[in-house]
Symmetry: C2
């Protein structure tokens, strides 16, 4: 079975690990979000691609969900001693190596997709990981700074990591998306997929950025195979992260049903909500999307595997319908 998964960072990576356990023989292609990529210290940093790669390759810091295990922060300390920031973005000494290798390969002329493949040669994540685009797309967020009242457009990472989404996101813009093209292999993987899954990743800044690359949304809608998603919102709050903060910016309420409606029946065939949101099933089905309520807390690998299995079961229901 060929499965295509649109993945953001931590939630997407943990779901993928569950999917590998639930469906060990599946041929999995991951289309990774690069909208939260950032240039730091002259280096190209791809947080979501790396989180997927490290998580599936056994190098992740399990507790925090991002960055490397057995990590030190000496380089960052020294940058701070030079007065060179930002200090709010936590790059460890081991993690830096990934960004240095990536930047060197990009400077040598390789596209990000080829670089990602080369990095995965080491990590062997057991999936094919493709960035959504080889073109630069960077999500920016419009905010009003509380101190000065100044309206400002800042990089998503500055909003998410430095400000910890403490001010309302007034707009979320994937800068460069309109001019971007899907990376080689993306449309082909979608066209050849048997199932397409949206993990419980952020619907705006993770899955939303991927869908903002012209051609991807259309390819998914026209693939003619079950497209099933899992709600990142449980009981009106995000399972992790701060998805509610950016949902407001796109005018979507923070609920499992509203996110399904946001994707829409033109894209989604099936939707899983948590058992606490069982009352949302009717509303989602009224929107033309088949819906089931199952436990959606990825408390451990087995829980993630059960969620993945439920998603595949729902996909088969959709296919048989």
């Amino acid at each position: 079975m060929r499965i295509v998964v649109l993945a953001g960072g931590i939630g997407g990576a943990r779901f993928l690990r569950g999917l590998q356990q639930a469906s060990p023989d599946a041929d999995i292609t991951v289309i990774g979000n690069t909208g939260d990529d950032i240039h730091l210290f002259g280096l190209k940093v791809c947080p979501d691609l790396d989180t997927v790669m490290y998580t599936l390759g056994g190098g992740i810091n399990e507790e925090q969900g991002w960055g490397r295990t057995d990590e030190t922060f000496h380089l960052k300390e020294e940058l701070a001693a030079y007065g060179v920031g930002p200090e709010w973005f936590g790059l460890g000494d081991r993690d830096f190596a990934t960004h240095i290798v990536r930047t060197q390969m990009l400077s040598a002329g390789f596209p990000l997709s080829a670089v990602t493949e080369a990095l995965c040669d080491r990590w062997k994540p057991g999936v094919r990981l493709i960035p959504m685009s080889d073109d630069r797309v960077e999500t920016h967020v419009a905010v009003t700074l509380p101190d000065s009242g100044e309206r400002k457009v800042i990089h998503f990472q500055e909003y998410w990591v430095r400000l910890r989404a403490s001010v309302p996101a007034e707009a979320v813009v994937p800068v460069g998306a309109e001019q971007s093209k899907p990376a080689p292999g993306v449309l082909e993987a979608i066209a050849e997929a048997d199932v397409i899954l949206f993990p419980p990743s952020n619907p705006v800044v993770s899955v939303g950025s991927i869908l903002a690359v012209p051609g991807i949304r259309e390819a998914i809608a026209e693939a003619g195979v079950p497209v099933v998603g899992l709600s990142p919102i449980v009981g009106d709050a995000p399972v992790r992260g701060m998805a509610d903060k950016v949902l407001a910016a796109v005018g979507v309420e923070s609920s499992a049903a509203a996110v399904a409606e946001h994707y829409g029946s033109g894209l989604l065939d099936g939707w899983l909500v948590d058992t606490v949101d069982a009352s949302a099933v009717e509303r989602v089905e009224a929107a033309g999307i088949r819906c089931r309520a199952v436990p959606l807390m990825m408390s451990d690998l087995d829980a993630a595997a059960r969620m993945a299995a439920e998603a595949l079961t729902l996909a088969e229901e959709v296919r048989g319908a």
Copy 2:
């Protein structure tokens, strides 16, 4: 007193620390060798400038004489895990920060001299450290590889660090030197100096590279102030490093007297040899260079300070003559 010192790496840096102790009120300008600079992992690495900066700024690894104290090597381990080399050049996690900041500033358009000044803002070495040139000069070495018999021109660092000078240097070429210009401040510092010193640095690849920048040798010769050097060769062997290996490439025997003759009386006014080389004094003076035999082993800071004091004493002798 305004003192100009032409410095390589470890020997130059340790001598400078002695000079600061011997002459605490002196205004010291260091013209640093950049001929052993190397680009690694997309980063600009300036080993000699950094050794001077770290040594005088209190950040040096005292035992090895280069690199940072309290250092870790996690980034390098990870680069190796990615199969990205070279592995023979030891860059530590803390040290990497210097190269990242430098590379970022160079990419932003600052010349190396301005970047070096900015880095020194942190380290406060107590001297003015200027690279010999803002232009790229890279010392290369012609060798015959022992296994294949292949004649090859390799970067000085590959010869020095990877091969550990284990094959004869057939030629030493400061590539780019002919087209290079002294960095801003270099010629002015020489013109305004009261004394010019050559520490016991490598006469070919350290001091020699600096003198290969058009204009510097001439400015020193015409400065009209005492120019005094200290022999890096004691008892026919280099005090440290492998200076003898590269002296052969320029047809100079490995002896205290031969190095003085190599610089020549057109450049040098005074020369210190070690007491074990007292018999060389006559030969050096016959070449028109005032010479004294004093202890030249920089076993500790006090020994380095005594050497610096002897050099300044000899300079005053020259001036009074």
